[in-house]
Assembly symmetry: C2
Homo-oligomer: 358 residues x 2
């Protein structure tokens, strides 16, 4: 157990009058225990309490030898795991629960009267997780540096006859050759009009002259995630594509320039979005500016128009404006940004000026 992190979470919970919580998110449990257990469809749960009666509930299918500094309660598929958890909680006190706990378990805990009331405690966990400590910052810098190096290799694969799918298959191999543990998410690679659909999956589409080539890719190393997008052009970029690219690049830079401790997420979003609107592409930037990232590739804490929270030192999030013209072209440029004590450190250094691949 990382006592410092557990104490910080409990202190946040205490501010809301909550002194016990059941976490079920494997990433949060890794954050607090140092042990990544990926239980698939099975439950994994960590009970923490102000009295220090922490318990880790693990299915016997995931045996482990090491002493994590927390009492482990083993269970089988046929055990009544909610009753086991309710036997640990203080029924007279409010019980924090993980926002990702399933209704199946929450309704059962409520039926057993495990707490006097039930509170989504994830905000407290996420505030603490959101402010990466020194060790985590080092890992975020390292994994993003690998992503930078990989991007040059991805670009070099872009040539006549290649398909999105064929490129996508190379991504993980390249990451591993550079020392990463694997992909942090399935690579989004899209040519031409496909890039205008933010949820397009790489398929057999063959590269054509004049296509944009969008790579939204990330690796992970030591359980921390990278995420970066670059958009290239093949053979040429027409005037409209260049205008779109220029707009998105200026928005990316404006967003990043607006980041400093205390700035609000919504104002950072606005700084980027405003430039896209001024260029007349407002309706074609259809998503948030960015998302927080760390152990998970998407962590709570969006840079969007509604999030009035201030950014804090140690926060790491993406700045990824995009413009998508259906049937024609899509451009997105994304870096990870780490808030420092007095400004921001951009974690990606791969060039952003328009590149035409010949």
């Amino acid at each position: 157990m990382n006592d410092r992190r557990v104490d910080r979470v409990l202190a946040r919970l205490q501010e809301q009058g909550v002194s016990q919580m059941i976490l079920t998110d494997p990433s949060s449990i890794f954050y607090l225990t140092g042990k990544m257990i990926t239980p698939g469809s099975r439950l994994l749960a960590l009970y923490i309490s102000g009295e220090g009666k922490h318990r880790l509930f693990v299915n016997r299918l995931f045996p482990m030898d090491e002493d994590l500094g927390v009492e482990v309660c083993w269970f089988s598929d046929t055990d009544d795991i909610c009753r086991m958890m309710a036997d640990c909680t203080d029924h007279g006190l409010a019980l924090g629960v993980d926002r990702k706990m399933t209704a199946e378990h929450l309704l059962a805990l409520q039926g057993l009267g495990a707490g006097s009331s039930y509170v989504n405690g994830s905000g407290c966990v996420n505030q603490v997780r959101g402010q990466k400590d020194e060790e985590e910052q080092r890992k975020m810098i390292e994994v993003s540096a690998i992503n930078d190096r990989a991007m040059e290799q991805f670009k070099n694969l872009v040539k006549a006859g290649v398909t999105e799918e064929a490129l996508a298959r190379q991504v993980e191999l390249i990451y591993k050759s550079l020392g990463a543990d694997g992909n942090s998410f399935q690579p989004h690679i899209a040519f031409g009009a496909n890039a205008a659909d933010p949820h397009h999956r790489p398929d057999g589409t063959v590269l054509k002259e004049g296509d944009c080539v969008l790579f939204d890719v990330g690796c992970r190393k030591d359980y921390y995630c990278a995420d970066m997008t670059r958009t290239f052009f093949y053979k040429y970029a027409d005037d409209e594509a260049r205008k779109v690219y220029d707009t998105v690049l200026r928005a990316n830079l404006a967003g990043e320039a607006a980041i400093h401790p205390g700035a609000r997420f919504c104002d950072i979003d606005r700084a980027a979005r405003g430039l896209i609107e001024q260029a007349g592409y407002g309706p074609y930037f259809i998503h948030r500016l960015g998302h927080s990232i760390g152990i998970d590739v998407h962590e709570p804490g969006d840079a969007n128009t509604a999030n009035t929270d201030p950014v804090l030192p140690g926060n790491v999030f993406s700045c990824e404006p995009g413009v998508y013209l259906a049937g024609r072209v899509g451009v997105r440029i994304e870096d990870l940004c780490m808030v420092t004590e007095d400004g921001v450190q951009i974690l990606n250094h791969y060039p952003k000026e328009l590149q035409v691949i010949d």
Copy 2:
């Protein structure tokens, strides 16, 4: 909307005094609407009610053109989606919720008083989904037939110098070449002692003479999943490995022979488990005999020691006994089994006798 399926779910709910439900599982929503939407970390929700006021809540990031025969309520990341849902529900009646709904949404709905009480309604949905109709049965047969054909190709890749990882990379390509849409899960491929760890992931382990070679693999086609395990040996199988194999094969056959409408899941598990216990390997068969399968590779309805539910015509589940001797060998043999009106149809036909690859 598939009105016949919706009506069957509502009839089951009504038996429990529930006349409205919010589903959030994309597979269940596909089952009822015919449209697969994979919303990633975003919410997707289907409200169904006995009064026919069905609503589908979809994030604007997932646009679609077709008319699904249900009113679609579009929302953005910044909308208060729980309030939108609570505006549709009848606050004076019990509200069924999906077992996979997250605590974040359930607590918000409870805070808004969306129902007079909250009930895990997934049992009703799953009973209906569990009994595959004719169209679904055809798809399950078809996708398992592809898995049978693929297994022969996987076996042919087993030769000197190969690694688990290299085999794993071929799996999806072979599936697609045979007409499948892709993997239904990440292939589990393990050599020798690795096969004794049911959660081993394919890595750089190189094949050795005398190794068992375990393939637990599945493809999907038209949104339905296959899942099969075969265990081969490379060059030779020692006496202990042969005894383990023989035991597991007899358990697999005994489990399958015990399947007929009305048989209890626990008795099917027992039929297989008993043979393994008699052979002295009881402590080394550490998991359930099987799991239900269909649109999801793991669906509710386990064949385990505790599930006293009877199997019903149209149920499809795996029969996958295994014996795992740590540090030495692991053997698992798995078929999908479909309950018929008067017995069982085994969906996998790839041979099960011990094969030594030379």
